[in-house]
């Protein structure tokens, strides 16, 4: 048989997208430039969209009057308390589903049924159950955060190396230690990516939670600006929400870097 001796070039490079440092900021700048030019030359009507300068002025005004801190303080409190209630109970239920057959058979279908329910649709019920005060706002955020945390937690537990657990069990290590020293660290990466998703859902639900009876809060401010057609404050509020999301993502990134160092 004749051998084909052509040289074979390496073709299996994959797509391997790399992080190009300046492209991210440049994209933001391009959007900003388009917005600026569009509003100044009048392709974008002043009723449809405020100019970047008006939005900046609205933001500065909110900082100077101290209004911003009032709104941020109220919203962060709701996010932290609601998120903590939903997140901690979600992790507990998720671990139970990951470790126990009874929990898996009972709680998992329940969580799968709860997850797709739009929490905004339940708002009127939450108001009857928890009133129009802070409790109904915590509840809305807690419910929204709960399901993704359950799914992240039990997915993380399922993903822990079975051999490690079996080995620990063969050596007679108590179950408590297996959970604390093998299952928990093994599930941590999945838990943290769950927190990323849950935090974004929490921020989305913040606006819904603050629809009812909230005098302060970023979500309440965005809604009120919409009702007042103050589009500059509306966009400023949306930017604050998006900055909140970026900050949370950054903080989770920092936590990931320190807590997951052991992975090498």
């Amino acid at each position: 048989m004749p051998y084909d001796l052509r040289p074979v070039p390496f073709r299996g490079g994959g797509f391997a997208p790399k992080h190009l440092r300046f492209f991210g900021p440049a994209t933001f700048l391009a959007v900003l430039a388009y917005w600026w030019i569009g509003t100044h030359l009048g392709w974008i009507s002043p009723i449809a969209m405020p100019t970047p300068m008006e939005v900046a002025r609205a933001l500065i005004d909110m900082v100077q009057t101290g209004e911003l801190w009032q709104h941020l303080g109220a919203s962060l409190q709701r996010l932290l308390i609601g998120g903590a209630i939903g997140g901690i109970s979600g992790v507990i239920v998720g671990f139970a589903i990951g470790l126990s057959s009874i929990a898996r058979s009972t709680a998992l279908p329940l969580v799968s049924a709860l997850f797709p329910i739009p929490k905004i649709a339940l708002l009127p019920l939450f108001i009857i159950w928890f009133g129009i005060g802070e409790s109904s706002k915590y509840a809305t955020i807690a419910f929204g955060v709960f399901s993704p945390m359950v799914i992240a937690a039990f997915g993380g537990v399922d993903g822990v190396d079975r051999n490690l657990i079996r080995m620990a069990q063969s050596f007679g290590i108590p179950t408590r230690d297996i959970i604390a020293k093998i299952v928990l660290p093994g599930a941590l990466p999945a838990l943290l990516s769950g927190v990323r998703i849950a935090a974004s859902i929490g921020i989305i639900l913040l606006t819904a939670a603050e629809m009812i009876g909230a005098q302060y809060g970023v979500g309440a401010m965005v809604l009120a600006s919409g009702n007042l057609m103050q589009t500059d404050r509306l966009i400023a509020g949306v930017l604050i929400l998006s900055a909140l999301g970026l900050t949370v993502a950054f903080l989770i990134g920092c936590v990931e870097k320190t807590v997951l160092k052991w992975r090498g």
Binding site: I47, I128, I132, Q215, A220, L223, A224, N227, L228, M229
Partner: protein, 345 residues
């Protein structure tokens, strides 16, 4: 015509057809104005409904089709976007901001508060009433449900706070986004009080669900509704706006003649004239009720509307400066940019 020639009957019919076609043609040349008007199913738009029912718009060669909205704000937005040409809605922080930016103009008035006439009512929850929330003064320190920040309810609360001298900051304002939420919150005592339109408050007070504190017309006269249109129509098709307002004002005059009369007991007169107007308006405001019931409700809930359609400039001035003081309306908004008094001087 004689080619049909089988006697006078047919001739007459053909002649009738001929004149029919002629008048249809004539009307067609004029009736090019098919317009869309944004409204709420409120009795305060009764003038418009009467003008439609009694053919006043047809007489001005305007073909009106109505688009019903659930909230005041979207009506203003739909005029700004050109989806509707005219709209009857509340003069709120949102509509004033849009008008100040040149998207809208108020060209005539709609509903308002006037002493002695039916209007919005301040009601307290049973629990708060038992605790002593029985007067406007007692609102100092109470929690009050409103629909939205910058709504006419928000303004009326401000009027109470100013009139009684305690300042709006003393009231815990709870924006609940919708009327059903406001009703639910005051019925269950989650807020101490709220302001409700008479047709909603009446049955609640009668059932003992809430307690009446007083009518807002005791606090101040207030023009809260307006006829809005876009500046584009005022400059490009002014004649249409003039004809529209003429028909609308004829409706307002009829509305006043039928529904603004008060008997010796101070209650609305309920004679044939009132019932006829009630039936005509009821079709639009309470479409799911039996006509007689709808008419009765309309008569009971007919709020004050100025019969001339005149916009009270001094009042709009007061409203704009209050909204500005609360930072609910941009500092650049001016009364003369918001109101056009050239059609109803």
């Amino acid at each position: 015509m004689s080619t049909f020639g089988k006697g006078t009957l047919i001739d007459r019919r053909v002649m009738l057809l001929g004149t029919g076609a002629f008048s249809a043609l004539g009307a067609k040349a004029l009736a090019a104005d098919a317009i869309n008007v944004g409204v709420l199913r409120f009795v305060s738009s009764g003038g418009l409904y009467l003008a439609i029912e009694r053919g006043y718009f047809k007489a001005e060669a305007i073909d009106v089709s109505l688009t019903f909205f659930e909230a005041a704000q979207p009506i203003a937005v739909s005029i700004a976007s050109g989806d509707t040409q005219f709209g009857l809605t509340g003069i709120s922080g949102g509509t004033l901001n849009l008008a100040g930016r040149g998207a809208l103009k108020i060209i005539a008035s709609q509903g308002g508060e006037k002493k002695g006439y039916t209007g919005n009512l301040l009601v307290a929850s049973n629990a708060a009433f038992a605790r002593g929330l029985t007067s406007f003064e007692a609102l100092n320190g109470a929690s009050v449900a409103i629909s939205q920040v910058g709504s006419t309810f928000h303004y009326q609360l401000g009027q109470i706070a100013d009139a009684k001298g305690f300042g709006l900051a003393k009231i815990a304002i709870k924006p609940l986004q919708s009327l059903p939420n406001m009703v639910a919150a005051v019925k269950t005592g989650q807020v101490d009080a709220t302001i409700l339109a008479p047709h909603i408050a009446g049955p609640l007070i009668a059932h003992g669900d809430v307690k009446l504190i007083g009518p807002l017309s005791d606090i101040a006269d207030y023009q809260y509704g307006g006829l809005f249109t876009s500046p584009k129509i005022l400059t490009g098709n002014r004649d249409l706006a003039v004809r529209f307002v003429r028909a609308y004002v004829r409706g307002l005059v009829d509305y006043n003649a039928a529904l603004m009369r008060r008997g010796a007991d101070g209650r609305p007169v309920e004679d044939d004239l009132a019932v006829k107007a009630g039936l005509e308006i009821g079709k639009y405001v309470y479409p799911s009720d039996p006509p007689a019931e709808a008419a009765r409700k309309v008569i009971a809930a007919a709020v004050y509307c100025d019969p001339t359609g005149k916009v009270d400039i001094a009042d709009i001035d007061r409203q704009i400066s209050w909204y500005k003081s609360q930072k609910l309306v941009d500092a650049s908004v001016e009364t003369k940019a918001v109101v056009d008094t050239s059609i109803v001087p």
